[in-house]
Every structure is written in structure tokens, then in C-alpha cells.
């Protein structure tokens, strides 16, 4: 599904040039659950953003579903992203002014899904995330765990093939974190590809494969056999 060749990302400010990714070669297959680990500043999030089509690499190739996308314009990337990729963030990133229902509905609006269809799908997703009773609440009225479940509902609402999760349990206590991981695992079992950045070894244990990054390089790739 995702294929990178000699991916390089360099950040430049006026005086400093930082190489965030250096010759990263990766292959992520459909249906896989991959964890990316590594110390702070090693380039995990940068890699995730490039895979998520939020950012373009400085050099190298990026293949997504067989298309070469590293030179895509913002518009092309957005179009590809909104149909194929869902995001889950450490800090949930829900819009405070929108209710739970409206937050989840948002991707469908940009996909121009009809009102009735939206309602059906949002309710379904909320049921699934066990948060339907909170549909009319605003994010601030929810606990962290609940907020993250809303975020996951939003990530899956458009039935994406890929979910990118950036430390999804980072702001949660262990019980809530566990629940979120269960949801992600379940999604993966239903066929969604998941790429997750994490610091937590126990979260990483849920994945099929762990990619270790260090200073922008891939150091190891451990295939984990599910027991």
C-alpha cells in the first residue's frame, strides 16, 4: 500500500538545516498494523505526516496505492487523503465549537455525502465507539478517553483504507489507553491498515511490525508474530 524509496526530509530555517528523515525505505502492506518507535525528534511524526500526505518529502519517492504521490499538489493530496486516510492524534484535535456528532460528520461534509447518509453513518460510528449517548456534547464536556473515541470515530467515518495514529494513547490513562488500542486492533482486524507512532512498548506490542527510527534513519524492523 505504501512504499517509500530513499525518502529525505530536510527542514530549513534561515540559519539551521535539519535533516528529519534520511534515506528512509519502507514498505507497508494493506492490512498491516505497523508501529513506529524511536526517541523524541527522531523523525517519527515527520514520517507519519509524509505518509499521511500532509507534507511532501524533500527527496525520494512515495508510492501510495500504486501511485507516485511525492510531487502531488496540495489539492491532489487533499483529495487522496480525504478518501483514503483517517487520522488519530495524541491531543485528539477535535473542533471545540462543534458537537461530537458534528466533529465526526466533518469528513463526510467535505466528501459531499448526503445529509441522511451522513446521519446514518455518524450514528453508526458513534454506536460502534460506544459514545452515541454523548453525540450532542461538546469536546470539553468529555473525558480524554471519550474524546479519543470520538476522534477515532471521525477517523473511520469515511471508511479509509489507512489509519494513521500519532501517539493515540499519549494523553490517556492506562484504562482508556487500553480501550483505544482495542478499538484500533479491532479496526485492523476488519482490514484497515494502521500505522501508529508510539512511545509505549505495550501499545507497540499490538502491532505486526515495529519500525525503529533514530536520527531520521530506519534502524530496525522487527516482524512480530502474533501469538
Amino acid at each position: 500500500m505504501i512504499n517509500t524509496k530513499n525518502l529525505i526530509k530536510i527542514f530549513r530555517t534561515d540559519e539551521v538545516e535539519t535533516t528529519a528523515l534520511n534515506n528512509v525505505n519502507l514498505e507497508i502492506n494493506t492490512g498491516e498494523f505497523v508501529a513506529i518507535m524511536g526517541p523524541s525528534g527522531c523523525g517519527k511524526s515527520t514520517l507519519l505526516n509524509i505518509i499521511g500526505l500532509l507534507d511532501n518529502p524533500s527527496e525520494g519517492e512515495l508510492h501510495f496505492n500504486g501511485f507516485r504521490v511525492e510531487k502531488y499538489t496540495e489539492r491532489q493530496r487533499t483529495n487522496l487523503r480525504k478518501e483514503n486516510i483517517g487520522f488519530v492524534f495524541q491531543s485528539f484535535n477535535l473542533i471545540d465549537e462543534l458537537t461530537v456528532f458534528e466533529n465526526v460528520e466533518l469528513p463526510l461534509l467535505y466528501l459531499k455525502v448526503s445529509g441522511a447518509e451522513r446521519k446514518r453513518r455518524v450514528n453508526e460510528a458513534l454506536e460502534r465507539m460506544n459514545i452515541a449517548h454523548r453525540a450532542k456534547h461538546f469536546p470539553q464536556q468529555l473525558s480524554g478517553g471519550q474524546q479519543q473515541r470520538v476522534a477515532i470515530a471521525r477517523a473511520v467515518i469515511s471508511n479509509p483504507k489507512l489509519i494513521l495514529a500519532d501517539e493515540p494513547t499519549g494523553n490517556l490513562d492506562s484504562a482508556n489507553g487500553e480501550e483505544v488500542m482495542n478499538l484500533l486492533t479491532q479496526l485492523n482486524e476488519e482490514g484497515t491498515t494502521i500505522v501508529m507512532v508510539t512511545h509505549s512498548p505495550s501499545d507497540a506490542d499490538r502491532s505486526h511490525r515495529i519500525i525503529q527510527l533514530f536520527d531520521g534513519h530506519v534502524v530496525t524492523e522487527n516482524m512480530r508474530q502474533k501469538l
Binding site: N49, I95, E97, E102, L109
Partner: protein, 812 residues
């Protein structure tokens, strides 16, 4: 999508009540001012356009130069109408208006003085759209001594009676038969007539021979307003091109003898109200005020929309997260732009609704201020409403454009990295916006100061005579004028009456001009000189200064025959220098074979008086000649100087004596001072308008500054906390926060100085007597801006500077 948008919009507004209300109030007030100004401007531009034929109607005016003295007047000779119709095939109809002064109307017990009446040709109802409610437009004014009243007058005298065929006694009991009732002329008409006498009446009064005379002298008396209805597709140039031949035929001979050069002025009816600057014209508007007001409207809107931009971009860090999320989940840039544009358009449309309500409520006050009767209605002024909706949308797009473009450019990745939109990244633009707001405000402040000072200056300027406590009454009754000496003696018996005098015309208003001959090195030369015929008591009553020679004296009998007193301007004009006394002067000229009509009086200068402003201060003091006469026909205007105490009793005493001497016509008076103040009504209005609108613009700018400063204080909470922990004093922190704004306000003021100086000088140059723009004006402006600015910013800054540093550091 729309529902989602509006829900989001509403929540966004209600969660940011402070910023939203600053924006809504600013935009509403801005739009309100614009709508009011627009209504005013639209009304001014609509003058006389209610006439169906207005595009084909022109007015003939006269531009003539005599002895270096040029006059441009709105009137033309009486024979122009019929002879133009005859000589120029382009002319379809002509109408002449020959104004009659104030006259007393009597019907039964009812007796009032009426103004704004004119003798007019019977074609008036064909040329102009003055609808008749009663009477036949073809015939209403064909008979001598017929009169057409407007609705108001008809009601006043006849109530529910049918006025048609009834007889009104006019002036010295001349019977006029009512032959029609017309609708009151619209307010947006430069004509202000309440009634029309038939032109035939004037013909009867003057005698048909004199009235219809095509003698050369008739072409050199400019007594009527001549309007021509031109045939379709006729250009004014056609008339102008052929005019020299006409001039040759009717006017040249006498003109050359008099030494006058003459030019025809042609004005479109629609241009008279705003673009005519002729003497003897109806009080008109001024296109300059239209420009000034439109500029003010644009300024105020600019300030309000800058507020919006400023606050929207300042708050961008708060919205950046939302933009980022929307983009991550699939929003394209145009979705975001559309969202922000719709937000600002919704806000301006909402502000427009509030503005329209405010306009509806404030219109009566505004009408009073501008002296109009403006109405706002979807039916009556659909174009104003439509224009405003368009304006609100454009304003929304304009205000929303920068925030929309800026925010939509935020990369989603930045929110993932946890970077908040950097409020300082557009600090330069924000500074620029604040500077432009305060530049505009500073221009408005200095404009207000200058306009108000000029108004006060004109009102309080020493006009060269004492205008206070002078009661003026025009003696229209010829019998009263013959009894004037006895009348004066009777009046003076009252101890509260200090002096009584008469003159032929009212100082400062209806002066007369006549050809004079003055002594020069080359012999006697011609000049059209203003003159006023006065009695012995006039100069004393008005407290005018005689600088050289003497005043008129009752002891010297020849003073009524051959003595003149001229003003300083005349001495300068005639190059008399130090030797003005004894110089020869002649009123009127003898022209061979032509009866000039007026009397000729040769005499010499016995005194020079200090210049006084006998005309409104909007004109330069022109040369002037005072002539003494005991001829009752010249003693038309009664002046009574009274004590400032017991005014009421004194006035009723004058009225009592008046009624004894003049039982036919009631006492109709005014105070000279009041009449002179009316001259500056325009300036008084402008002063008010300027003050009010500049106050509003400053208010809106300050609101914006207040919002911006609270935002900046909030932004810098952490910085302030750190500084405080490191030992900064509250004073230092307040300075840190306010210093930047103060600098911006000072820069704005400096930028405003040349602009204000330039614009105000243009305005002032219209006045021959005007104040000069001193540096103090700009100093005061800077101080006012700074005080307002500081007051606005200081509170927020103080609050931020005194807040608990621990909280501040924990922030984020």
C-alpha cells in the same frame, strides 16, 4: 453544509462575544453612517430630476464684466424668453420666473405674509412637472391677476372651501383670482415657490408697452430666471454657437456704449442645485459637501473593516487549530476561504440589519441636522437598500479577505506539530492597519477642529458694524413710507429704542448694483458699484466707522443731492489713495437716445468708511457707496436699535406704533443678527456633521484598538510573567504593552498632517475670510488621539501587567 456552517458561525460568535460585539458594533455603526450619508447624497443628487423633461431644460444666466468688475448671475433679461423662442428653432418652450418679494395675503379675516411667490409664464405647467390638483394647466396662468396656490396655501386660506375662483387680496389690496391649486413642490426641488402669479399680471402692472419692450435697455436689466425647454437631441452648444448673432441683433449697441462685455451662461436644470455658483441664485447645495460626506462614509467603513481584519488575524492562532483539523479531514483551501468569507459576510449582513434599524430610529434627528426630510423605505428607496446589501456583501468580502487568505494558507501539518498560529507573524500588517485607522481618525479630528474654528470665526468676526439688537422690518406699504419721519419720532418716544433708521436695501442681503462713473486720471470711468440709499441716522445706528471726512449731516442740505460716502475697498479700487475726499462720483449714466430709467446723481465723496461686510462673509468685501436720500421710495427697510433688556415689551411697542401708521399690513420683523447667522447655516451643519462623524470614527477605531490591545496582552501573558518573575516593575510592563501603540498613533498623526493640511486648505480657500491652519491644530489632534489611544490601551495593559505571574507561567 449550510446548517453546519451557521451552527458553527453562531457558536463561534457566541463564544467570542467580546470580539464579535466589537466587530458587530463597529460595522453596524459604520454602515449606519454610510446609509445616512448615502440617503443625504442621493437626495442631493436627485434635485429637480423629478421633472420629466429635466434633461431638456436649461437655464439662461449672465456673465458680464463692467469696468473690471465681473458678475456671474443666475438671472437674465425679461425679453430673453420670447426672443430666444423666436430666434432659436431649438427652443420648444420658454418659462420666465420673476420673483416677487414677501407680500401680505388677505382672505376674509385671514391675513398673513407670504414668501416665495413668483410671476411666471403660463407655459410653466407644460415645461415643469408641477402637477395641478385643481384648474387647467393650459389656462391656469393665462389671465392677468390670476394666482395658482400650492396645497398648503390653499388649505391655509380656504380650508375645505373650494379655492377656485376665490379672490385673494395681495400686498396693497390687489385682487388676485385663484385659478389653480398645485401640489406642494417636492423638497428636492431648487424651486421653493408656494404660489405663482400669472406673468400677465406683471405685464399689467408694468404696462404692456414697457413689459414687452424690445428696447436695448430691456436687454440690460437682469430681472428674471429664464428656463428653456429644448427640442429633443439639442445640445447646449447649438444655442451658444448662435448666440453671438443674437447679441449683435439685440444687445451689442448699448452694451458697447456701457462698456460691458457679456457672455451667456447655460446650465442644465439638474446641475443647478449642486454645481451652480452664481449670484442671485436660490440657496443651493454644494458638490464639495457631497464629496466630503462620501469621503467620511468611506473612512468610517474603512476603520470598521480594519477592526474586523485586525481582530480576525490577531485571533488567528485560535482558529488555526480548527483550520488544520478541517484540512486534515479533507477540506480544500477553497472550503476554508469560503467558510471565512461567509463568516465575515454573515457578520456584515447582520450588522447591516442592525444598521438599518438604527437608521430608521435616528432619521428624524439626522433630518433635523441636515435640514431634510429623508425617508428610508424599501418602496421609496429600493436602490438605497439594494446598494446597502451589495455594500454589506462587498464589505464582508473585503474585511474577510485577509483573514480568509491568511488562515486558509495554514498548513495542516503545523497543528500536528503543535505549533499555534503565530500572531506576531503578521504584526507588520497589523501595525499598518492600526496606523491607517488612526491616520483617518486624525484627519477627521483636525477636520473637525478647523471646520468648527472657521464657523466660529465667521460668526464672531467683526463685520464692521454692530449687528446686535437691531430689529428689521421691510415697509412694503407705500403710504407708511411717506409717513416715515412721523413714524420714527413716535418710535423714539420709547426709552428702550435707541435709534431708528432706514435704508433702501438690507445690509448683507439684497444690495443693489448700478453703473457709476468715478473720477480717475483719465477722466470719468465706469464701474458697477454696490450702493445703498440711507437716511441720516443709519450710520450712527449701525455704528459704522468714518475713517476720513465726515458722515452725512442734517445741517448740510446738499448732502441729499451730491454727497457720497464710500468704503475703503472703493478707494482702493478707484486708485484714489490718500485723496479720496472731494473726488467726483456719479450714480447712473446718461446714454444717448436711451432712457436708462434710473436717476442720475453727480456728486463728490465726503467721507470714507471702514470696510464692513455688507455681504455674507463667503464673499470678499466689494466697493460700496452710501447715498443719502429722503425720497420715501428709497426708505424701504426699517432698522430699529433696541435695548437688550425688555425686548418683548419694546417689540410690542413697535408693533403698536406700526399698526397705528400702517393699519393695512401687519408688523413683520426679524433680528439682523439672526438673519446673518442663517448665512452660515451650511457651515454650522458641516461643523455638526463633521464633529459627529469624526467622533464616531474615533470611537470605532478605539474599540478596535481596545480589542487588539486585550488580545496582545493575552498573547504576551507568558512573556509578561517571565519578565515579572525576573523583576520587571508594573510600570515597565505597562510601558512595554502601550509603547507600541503610542508609537503607532504618533506615526499615524504625522502621516495625517500633510493630508489634512492639503484637504483643509482646499476647503478654506472657498472663504475669502478664513482662519489659517496653525501648528496648534495638529498638536491638539495628536494629544486628542494619544489620550484616546492611551485610555483605550492602558486598562488592558495594566490588568495584564498586574496579573499573577505564576498563572502566567503555567499558561499553555
Amino acid at each position: 453544509m449550510f446548517k453546519n456552517f451557521f451552527i458553527n458561525l453562531f457558536r463561534n460568535f457566541s463564544r467570542n462575544k467580546f470580539y464579535t460585539s466589537i466587530n458587530v458594533v463597529g460595522l453596524s455603526v459604520g454602515l449606519m453612517c454610510t446609509i445616512l450619508i448615502l440617503l443625504f447624497v442621493q437626495d442631493e443628487l436627485s434635485y429637480d430630476k423629478y421633472n420629466v423633461n429635466h434633461e431638456r431644460i436649461i437655464r439662461l444666466g449672465s456673465d458680464f464684466t463692467l469696468g473690471g468688475n465681473r458678475d456671474r448671475i443666475a438671472t437674465s433679461p425679461l425679453p430673453f424668453g420670447p426672443t430666444f423662442a423666436e430666434e432659436f428653432p431649438e427652443v420648444e418652450q420658454f418659462v420666465r420666473f420673476h420673483a416677487s418679494g414677501k407680500q401680505q395675503f388677505k382672505y376674509g379675516e385671514k391675513e398673513f405674509y407670504e414668501e416665495r411667490i413668483s410671476y411666471v409664464d403660463s407655459s410653466v405647467f407644460k415645461v415643469f412637472s408641477f402637477p395641478l390638483l385643481k384648474g387647467n394647466p393650459e389656462k391656469a396662468l393665462t389671465q392677468a391677476y390670476s394666482i395658482v396656490l400650492n396645497e398648503t396655501l390653499a388649505k391655509k386660506y380656504f380650508n375645505d372651501e373650494d379655492p377656485m375662483g376665490k379672490v385673494l387680496l395681495v400686498g396693497e389690496n390687489v385682487p388676485y383670482t385663484v385659478s389653480g391649486v398645485m401640489k406642494d413642490l417636492p423638497l428636492n426641488s431648487h424651486f421653493k415657490f408656494n404660489a405663482f402669479y400669472s406673468m400677465k399680471s406683471l405685464e399689467n402692472i408694468r404696462g404692456a408697452e414697457e413689459f414687452n419692450s424690445l428696447q436695448p435697455v430691456s436687454f440690460w436689466s437682469f430681472s428674471s430666471y429664464t428656463f428653456l425647454l429644448l427640442k429633443e437631441n439639442t445640445e447646449n452648444e447649438a444655442i451658444l454657437e448662435k448666440f453671438p448673432a443674437y447679441y449683435e441683433k439685440y444687445m451689442r449697441k448699448l452694451g458697447d456704449q456701457l462698456g460691458v462685455s457679456y457672455k451667456l451662461i447655460i446650465q442644465h436644470l439638474g446641475d443647478i442645485h449642486l454645481r451652480s455658483q452664481l449670484q442671485w441664485d436660490a440657496p443651493t447645495g454644494n458638490i464639495k459637501y457631497i464629496y466630503i460626506l462620501s469621503a467620511i462614509a468611506i473612512f468610517i467603513l474603512l476603520i470598521a473593516s480594519i477592526n474586523y481584519m485586525n481582530m480576525a488575524t490577531a485571533r488567528s492562532s485560535k482558529r488555526a487549530k480548527e483550520v488544520g483539523i478541517r484540512k486534515v479531514v479533507g477540506a480544500q483551501r477553497e472550503n476554508i476561504i469560503r467558510q471565512f468569507m461567509m463568516e465575515s459576510i454573515s457578520l456584515t449582513v447582520f450588522a447591516l440589519i442592525i444598521a438599518l434599524i438604527c437608521v430608521e430610529l435616528l432619521l428624524p434627528v439626522f433630518n433635523q441636522l441636515v435640514g431634510k426630510d429623508l425617508v428610508l423605505s424599501v418602496v421609496g428607496t429600493p436602490e438605497v437598500i439594494l446598494f446597502n446589501i451589495i455594500l454589506a456583501v462587498i464589505l464582508g468580502i473585503f474585511s474577510g479577505s485577509y483573514p480568509a487568505l491568511y488562515l486558509s494558507s495554514i498548513q495542516p501539518i503545523s497543528i500536528l506539530k503543535g505549533i499555534k498560529g503565530n500572531a506576531n507573524s503578521n504584526g507588520f500588517l497589523r501595525k499598518l492597519l492600526v496606523i491607517s485607522q488612526f491616520t483617518v481618525s486624525a484627519i477627521m479630528i483636525s477636520g473637525t477642529i478647523i471646520v468648527a474654528s472657521q464657523f466660529l470665526y465667521m460668526n464672531n468676526m467683526d463685520v464692521g458694524f454692530d449687528k446686535s439688537n437691531v430689529v428689521v422690518a421691510v415697509m412694503r406699504d407705500s403710504v407708511l413710507r411717506t409717513k416715515i419721519d412721523a413714524f420714527k419720532i413716535e418710535l423714539k418716544k420709547n426709552p428702550n429704542i435707541k435709534a431708528v433708521a432706514t435704508s433702501s436695501s438690507l445690509i448683507g442681503f439684497d444690495g443693489s448694483k448700478s453703473v457709476h462713473l468715478f473720477e480717475s486720471k483719465e477722466g470719468m470711468e465706469e464701474y458697477a458699484l454696490n450702493f445703498n440709499v440711507i437716511d441720516f441716522d443709519y450710520i450712527d445706528l449701525m455704528e459704522m466707522d468714518i475713517l476720513e471726512g465726515r458722515s452725512f449731516s442734517q445741517q448740510i442740505a446738499s448732502d441729499t443731492v451730491n454727497a457720497f460716502i464710500v468704503n475703503q475697498a472703493a478707494v482702493i479700487k478707484f486708485n484714489w489713495g490718500e485723496n479720496a475726499l472731494g473726488k467726483k462720483l456719479q450714480l447712473g449714466v446718461d446714454v444717448d437716445g436711451v432712457d436708462e430709467g434710473g436717476e442720475v446723481q453727480l456728486g463728490e465723496v465726503i467721507g470714507v468708511m471702514r470696510d464692513f461686510n455688507y455681504q455674507p462673509l463667503k464673499d470678499l468685501i466689494e466697493p460700496m457707496n452710501l447715498i443719502l436720500s429722503e425720497n420715501p421710495n428709497h426708505r424701504r427697510v426699517l432698522h430699529v436699535k433696541i435695548n437688550s433688556e425688555n425686548r418683548k415689551e419694546t417689540l410690542s411697542y413697535i408693533e403698536k406704533v406700526w399698526n397705528q401708521f400702517c393699519p393695512n399690513m401687519s408688523f413683520d420683523y426679524f433680528f439682523l443678527e439672526d438673519r446673518m447667522r442663517e448665512n452660515y447655516q451650511d457651515e454650522e451643519r458641516l461643523t455638526w456633521i463633521f464633529s459627529i462623524f469624526s467622533l464616531i470614527s474615533i470611537l470605532i477605531a478605539s474599540m478596535g484598538l481596545f480589542g487588539l490591545s486585550s488580545f496582545m496582552a493575552e498573547q504576551r501573558t507568558k512573556e509578561l510573567g517571565v519578565r515579572k518573575v525576573l523583576g520587571a516593575s508594573v510600570g515597565k510592563l505597562v510601558y512595554l504593552l502601550t509603547g507600541e501603540f503610542i508609537r503607532l498613533i504618533i506615526i499615524a498623526n504625522i502621516l495625517a498632517i500633510p493630508i489634512s493640511y492639503w484637504a483643509l486648505n482646499i476647503w478654506l480657500s472657498d472663504f475669502p475670510y478664513h482662519i489659517s491652519i496653525g501648528i496648534w491644530v495638529f498638536i491638539v489632534t495628536i494629544i486628542v488621539s494619544l489620550v484616546i489611544g492611551l485610555f483605550t490601551v492602558a486598562w488592558q495593559s495594566y490588568r495584564a501587567a498586574t496579573s499573577d505571574p505564576i498563572k502566567a507561567i503555567k499558561y499553555e
